[in-house]
Amino acid sequence: MRLLAARSVRRKLQLLVVVTTLAALVITSVGMVAYDMRNYQRVWVADLQTQADILGQASAPALAFDDPKAAGENLALLKARPSILAAAIYTARGALFASYQRDDAAAAAFPAIPDSDGFSIRRGELVVFKRIVDQNGIAGTVYLRADYPLVSRVLNYLGMLALVMIASMIAALALSARLGAAITRPIVEVGEVARNVIERRDFSLRATRTSEDEIGYLVDAFNEMLGEIGLRAETLESSNRRLEHEVGERREAEQALQISERRNRTLVAAITSVVWTSDGSGRMTEEQPSWQAYTGQETARCLGLGWRNAFEARDRDALEAAWAGAIEAPGLFQLELRLWHAATHSYRYVSLRAVPIVETAGKVNEWIGTVSDIHDQRMAEDALRKLNAELERRVAERTAELEASNKDLEGFSYSVSHDLRAPVRVVAGFAKMLGRQHADQLDAEARQKVEVIQNETLRMGVLIDDLLMFARLGRQAIRAVELDMGAVVRSVYDRLISQHAGNPVEFHLGSLPAAVGDRVLLEQVWTNFLSNALKFSAKRERPVITIDAISDATEYIYFVRDNGAGFDPRYQSKLFGVFQRLHGSSEFPGNGVGLALVHRIVTRHGGRVWADSKVDHGATFYFSLPRDPAPADTQSS
């Protein structure tokens, strides 16, 4: 069994086959030898007995007629059977009658008297006695002594068996090697795979199933097991990796923590600003290096509530009140006040901040506070504030001055305009009279010049009227009423179109929301916009004017759109200034006051005015009015 345990499966299988074969052969051989020996003896004995019988029968006459010579001749015939060593015939009375001995056989004594019928085997010799019986009864006895080569026969037999066994062994080995391979190869392969798996730790390897027997099942089971192991190993490895990763992270975190702690410690030690601590009730209980460095207080003097004495006496009440409040309701504490600074020997503004370290049940265990020097900042802020105040005061002064001068200017322009009207009217009157009453005294050139005077004075009159109105707008109160804008626009348009000479105008009027405003002033606005629209679109073959409105939550936006000359949008900002003209007066007549007037009116109503346009693509003018007009604006600003 040790031998069986030590070898590989293939060896075991071979050994098994060889041993089995050997055992079978040995048993067969023993059986065969035993059977053969028995058979051999029986046959040989029977053979000899037959021989003896034949001899007896042949020799019976010789005995009967007492002819030993004939009997001897009969016996001599046994030469043909060399295995018979000796033979003899005895008479019925037991006397040796005739004998024969093989030539080379060792002379051995014949038995004195014959034994009874039968055989005996002694020392490799078979001895047979056979009675000769004839009609008259026993006639004599035949004695035969023959070789009985059992041992040599057995040896021969064994030799042959040995040869057969060796041949069988070789055949069995060859066959088992060949047939056993069918069994062992899958096992060896599985073993190989298993070894590879162990050596390389590669669980993806698989044994190939080559048979459908138990080994095939084993291979399947092995593969499944490999898969399972692979899965487990993978899980384990990934878990290991995760664990390693986590350990690494933790190590990094610990390092970071250590670095952070070291940095904090260094920072606290190196910090120039003051850090202090106190117990829950605001008493300093230990040395406060930075505090003491700033204030110059001795340790003994700052402990307990002594630290408060370092603050300016006038700020101490505020500090105590605030501190008492902070202790009552713990939270972030902040206060700006003056603290004694030992180095400059002066009080400096500082920001005192403190946070409570709250332990369980809301009880404050400790306060950690800082003191930041904000003195320079505070001083700078104060200076800035002073500067600002000064600036504002001066702006107000200037504004007042400006307003006064504006008023003066308005009054002056009003009076100038007002005073200019009379002489202009006189000039106009006289020019008219001159042209009418003295027309016959004047030549054509003089009449033309008088006409120029008349036109210019008329124009000047209009300009003065406009300026007056513009100036008056500054002082006139707005009489706000609910206005039907559509009706207003319709009446203004009708009035203007009746005086308009030129191509017929396509006029669209949308539904306009009602608004609150001064009827006269807003009529003026519409008049200006519409006359502008008519004026600038007059050169179009088919002028189109559209009036409509948009509303949103806070205001109404009205607009007037024409398809006239338009303007360069770059000059939009100049549009609503006094005496600003974008077109030459020869091209489009006008004095440059109209839009300024509109601007002023709309602005006083709390609205806005704007326009957009492109040259030769018409223009749209917008103005807005608030839905809820401010009632305050009744006087000029």
């Binding site: 042949a58 009967a64 007629f65 002819d67 026993i138």
Partner: protein, 186 residues
Amino acid sequence: MNMRLRAGLILLLGLLLSLAAAASHGADTEAPLEKRVKAAFIYKFATYVDWPAGAFAAADSPLVFGVLGDRAIAEELGRATNGRRIETHSLHVRELHDGDDLDGVNVLFVGAGGALAPALSATGARPMLVVTEADSALSSGSVINFIIAEGRVRFEISAAGAERRGLKLSSRLLAVAYNLRSGEAR
């Protein structure tokens, strides 16, 4: 067992016979032994003969030994055949005298005291085993003739004589014959 018993009985008988022979040997030396041997031979000759059909009247007819001219042999033969049978035949010994009728005789021994020639002629070609003990008897129609060779009783056979009488002699008998004459004219 039966065989052994019989063998024992025969042995016992043999012993008695030899005792008797020894007893008679003392009284009558040479002749009786020769007579006894010849008587035994005569009896045994009969056992080696195949008789032709018609040699016996019936299957159980007795086989008759006729002894001519030798009383001792006749007596001896009577003792040897006493109680014996050959095949189906019982055995009878008849002492003959010259001129006796030979009818019914199957085996005829002509001793020295009998007239050979008339006896032989009387037998003719009958199926009769004729045994003689005279020189050149075979040529005169005898089948088996006793001789004395090397001090032993031996016999010679005439195959032609046997054939003429329709007798078939066993080859085993021929094998032990001292001399075998095959073709022998009368």
